[in-house]
């Protein structure tokens, strides 16, 4: 129907997209006929996370458009189509392909473009900017033929770009005009510390360098010529010298424009034309351009409220505090970082050994926080930001906020004191009230909070604070954060692990008499059994450990619904000789077992009675099989693909690696089961990204992915490290597994473990890769011990008559359980359905 209001959105970046999401959320979008134009070939993607494109080199991971959002809501999107003119008199927009579209209301969300100073030679080849996926594709291609890369501009984005060049394997330089890095956000002292940290990453920093021209190099593509006469040879140049609003359409259409660019808006984001709004980085409010995502999102909300008259949100400026998201370099800047406010006082903490610099700027009376700079450790970012934004009264000695915390003293802010309206996560605009509400609705862990509120899913800078609010709220509601393992042990699994490891406890009676009460139960006994195995790796049926085992571990097979067990021999990497395959068939036939290929690339034989297990395993062990631990909370399988030995695309020998890994970690008991996979190239036939640990071959080595999960709540694994050699790969996996065993909860898969970890992936990297906690050696040694003490549990068992005694069904008869009955189906056995079994009442 043509009665609909014609709404046109120009620009399909994060803010333009946010506007549409907010519009749909009001439920009033059906009153509009909505058309969106985007100049880029892809629908809206997450520019904030642009650098993560390098992890997969697939645009899909950055995509912001979920579940057919445009189609579902009748929004027409023209990607790869640029608007070249706005005709305000006729109320039409005109596109580069000649489309003419009338509008009643127009939204300008054209963002900004990277500023390239008119240096002589700036238009030479292999000179780039860092703004779009297309830019990154071009940089990646050029890097393959280059050795040296240089970023012009040492700001937030410049450093991110420099790290990317470094990761592409280039010798990397950063050239900055000002006397220090990130000159806008941080002060002199912070700048020095930051420089050290960036240099530690292997990036050369040149400050106070004014590039006058770029000319051809002698052995390199370019030579940069500085005003002071020095030169720098480089193959690639990336300009990151600030952004400029894309206000060209607005200028042409004679909308009000700021002196230095930007489309002037009011609190409703209306421009000087009542039918045209501007939002995001193109908009100029109070003479300011906001180059961050959070203000853009707030503008989108204000514009939607005004357009649809469905709310009263206005844009009233935004805080420009920021955090750098470079692995291993914690940098944050809050408010008045330079202490420019009249009569401001400042406090500074510098630690040269650990390369930490922290400064707070407070009001003359020490009452309020005005700004802060954090380098090397930005843990207090969240709470300091809250102090400033909510104008909260500081503690009597404000310096205590940045001094190292002594053990036992509480860190930073009391979250209780925060107002409900306090914005906890600025990326996703989540308030304290939102988090509290999610807890009231039943969320009890970070993983649930993240999916319910989206908090901490943007830059991640707020995750420590979100955790504090969560815990505080749980405590308040008396959902008490009871992390006791069970009524017998007032400890978490992690604490129990430490007690067992440090006090060298090896049996349950000792553990109980020292730290527990009562007799124990199926929870603490099985947990203790698992920890004993992770630490000391004794045979699980050794007395008295055997009494702690769940039936699956005791019988070394999974109990099925009818009380029989399954038999799963290990087939490392899924590779099996014809001879062994025949043995499996023969054994299955002899004992009449149901035979199935599992989802883990091996064979499962079902329907074995407990008393048959020893005979079956006797035959399997004799043929060279080992137990597959299909029953244990332990390593299951390492799925593989054939890789470079057979496949035309394979770039590494994924088979050999899968077998090596499976044999290395077989028998390792852990808080929950562990699954791995190795793929021979990026086609990923082994589905490694759905595993606890996934390994994918690259031209140069292996990419390591961690904490994936299939199952009930699938989670894609995160890229953890790239292009590793065999030795480093194994080192990292050793550490990772042992750290997981140390710190995870009972029955917590690695995916949930990571989602609940304060600091998330970057913290995990800092522990495993950078050895921040100084425990890497210990972890490796512990793993070495477990590996050295491996035995096939079934082999040891069948050699020990004492252990075999309990496999008969009856203690006083050789008979079988007559309640186990099978019928035939598709030429194999299966349990007789229950309704067909008449249970004989014996009372």
């Amino acid at each position: 129907m043509s009665t609909k209001i014609k709404l046109v959105v120009i620009g399909n970046g994060p803010v333009g997209h946010k506007f549409l999401e907010e519009l749909v959320a009001t439920g009033k979008h059906n009153a509009y006929q909505i058309t969106v134009f985007g100049e880029e070939p892809l629908p809206a993607y997450d520019r904030v996370q642009l650098t993560r494109w390098f992890e997969t080199r697939q645009a899909q991971t950055l995509n912001l458009v979920k579940d057919n959002f445009y189609q579902k809501n009748n929004i027409t999107l023209y990607s790869n189509e640029k608007i070249i003119q706005i005709d305000r008199a006729q109320q039409v927009v005109i596109s580069n392909s000649g489309k003419q579209l009338p509008y009643d209301k127009l939204i300008l969300a054209t963002g900004s473009y990277p500023f390239v100073p008119p240096v002589k030679g700036h238009d030479r080849e292999n000179i780039f900017v860092y703004r779009t996926i297309a830019d990154l594709e071009k940089i990646t291609a050029a890097a393959q033929q280059s050795k040296i890369g240089t970023v012009i501009g040492g700001g937030l984005l410049g450093l991110e770009a420099a790290k990317a060049l470094k990761d592409l394997g280039l010798k990397t330089h950063v050239v900055e005009f000002a006397p220090r890095l990130m000159a806008v956000q941080i002060d002199d002292g912070g700048g020095k510390m930051l420089r050290k940290k960036i240099e530690n990453l292997g990036v050369c920093v040149h400050t106070q360098k004014n590039t006058q021209s770029i000319t051809a190099g002698e052995t390199t593509t370019h030579q940069m010529n500085f005003a002071d006469g020095e030169i720098l040879a480089t193959d690639i140049i990336v300009f990151s010298a600030g952004i400029r609003p894309r206000d060209e359409l607005a200028r042409q259409a004679a909308l009000a424009i700021g002196e230095r660019g930007g489309v002037v808006i009011n609190n409703h984001c209306l421009t000087s034309d009542n039918n045209i709004y501007a939002i995001g980085e193109v908009a100029l409010w109070d003479n300011k351009i906001f180059g961050l995502i959070a203000p853009g999102n707030a503008m989108a909300q204000a514009a939607v409220d005004h357009l649809t008259q469905s709310g009263t949100r206005e844009f009233k400026g935004a805080d420009m505090s920021t955090k750098l998201k470079l692995m291993g370099v914690d940098v944050a800047s809050i408010g008045d970082a330079h202490g420019n406010s009249p009569n401001a006082r400042s406090y500074t903490y510098v630690n040269d050994r650990e390369e930490i610099y922290k400064k707070i700027v407070v009001s003359h009376d020490d009452k309020h926080l005005l700004g802060a700079v954090l380098i090397g450790d930005a843990a207090e970012y969240g709470s300091l930001l809250q102090f400033m934004l909510n104008k909260m009264t500081l503690p009597s000695e404000p310096e205590s906020l940045i001094l190292p915390q002594l053990e036992g003293s509480s860190a930073g802010i009391g979250v209780d004191a925060l107002p409900d309206s306090a914005q906890i996560c600025s990326c996703m605009n989540v308030t304290k009230a939102d988090v509290v509400q999610a807890v009231q609705a039943g969320a009890t862990d970070m993983a649930t909070i993240k999916s319910a509120t989206k908090a901490a899913t943007g830059c991640g800078g707020c995750s420590a604070l979100v955790t504090q609010v969560l815990n505080n709220e749980l405590e308040k509601q008396g959902i008490s954060v009871n992390t006791d393992l069970c009524e017998h042990f007032a400890y978490t699994r992690q604490a129990l692990y430490h007690l067992i490891r440090i006090e060298k406890i090896k049996d349950f009676t000792t553990l109980m008499s020292k730290h527990g009460s009562g007799l124990g139960c199926d929870i603490c006994k099985a947990t203790a059994a698992s920890i004993f195995a992770s630490c000391w790796n004794e045979h699980i049926l050794n007395k008295p450990l055997h009494a702690l085992q769940d039936t699956n571990d005791y019988y070394m097979g999974n109990m099925q619904k009818d009380g029989t067990y399954s038999v799963v021999p290990r087939v490392a990497g899924g590779e099996i000789t014809p001879e062994k395959l025949i043995v499996l068939g023969q054994v299955a036939k002899k004992y009449n077992l149901y035979t199935k290929i599992t989802g883990g690339q091996r064979v499962d034989l079902f329907g074995a009675r407990s008393e048959q297990l020893p005979d079956i395993w006797q035959e399997l062990v004799a043929a060279g099989f080992e137990t597959g631990h299909a029953y244990g909370k332990s390593l299951r399988t390492v799925k593989s693909c054939v890789g470079s030995t057979w496949c035309r695309y394979g770039v590494q020998d994924s088979m050999a690696m899968a077998i090596l890994l499976e044999n290395r970690y077989k028998g390792l008991r852990s808080p929950h089961k562990l699954k791995m996979a190795v793929s021979g190239c990026t086609r990923e036939c082994a589905e490694a990204q759905s595993k606890d640990v996934g390994v994918i071959a690259t031209e140069k080595g292996w990419n390591l992915y961690v904490c994936g999960n299939g199952g009930m709540k699938p989670r894609h694994a995160d890229l953890f490290a790239s292009d590793l050699d065999d030795v480093t790969l194994i080192k990292y996996i050793d550490r990772l597994f042992m750290f997981y065993i140390r710190t995870a909860d009972r029955l917590q898969r690695t995916s949930v473990w990571l989602d609940n970890m304060e600091g998330g992936l970057s913290y995990l990297k800092s522990v495993i890769v950078e050895d921040k906690l100084g425990i890497a050696n210990e972890l490796e040694q512990e793993m070495t011990q477990v590996i050295a003490s491996y035995q096939c549990e079934w082999k040891t068992t069948i050699e020990d008559p004492e252990k075999l005694k309990r496999f008969t069904h009856f203690v006083n008869s050789q008979q079988s359980d007559d309640n186990i009955r099978f019928i035939q189906e598709r030429e194999q056995i299966r349990p007789k359905p229950l309704q067909e079994i008449t249970i004989i009442e014996v009372n």
């Binding site: 008499s513 009562g518 139960c521 199926d522 099985a526 039936t551 009380g563 004989i840 014996v842």
Partner: protein
């Protein structure tokens, strides 16, 4: 009237574990799960309940992990983990469900279980 059947040597039922006994009485066979529970002072005490788990409808209770919940001695069913009181047979999670219990004693290092005597046996008891 009760009759005591000798089942096995007491060492056949390991500390804090269960074992299933086959009991034939009045031409019917019955599976009984016998448990050897050791208290914190180290004293052994034997208990017997049905081996049949009413939830999974399998003969598996003897293979569960033993312990105590709120002061009640229990075994956890190995398949779906419901707990049964070893003294009363009552299921902790569902008070409408209970299994049978049996008198059990240790005599001269052997485990004995009591069953009801048949009418015939009783008439012979003069």
């Amino acid at each position: 009237m009760k009759k005591w059947l000798t089942i096995c040597h007491k060492d056949d039922i390991l500390p804090n574990m269960g074992r299933c006994a086959l009991i034939t009485a009045q031409d019917q066979q019955r599976q009984v799960a016998i448990f050897n529970i050791v208290d914190r002072q180290g004293n052994e005490q034997f208990y017997a309940i049905d081996n049949f788990c009413p939830f999974s409808k399998t003969n598996t209770l003897s293979r569960g992990i033993t312990g105590d919940i709120n002061g009640q001695l229990v075994v956890a069913s190995p398949l779906y983990k419901q707990h049964f009181n070893l003294k009363t047979g009552q299921c902790i999670e569902d008070n409408t469900v209970a299994v049978n219990t049996y008198s059990v004693r240790c005599d001269n290092e052997h485990i004995l279980i009591a069953i009801n005597k048949s009418a015939e046996e009783q008439s012979n008891d003069h």
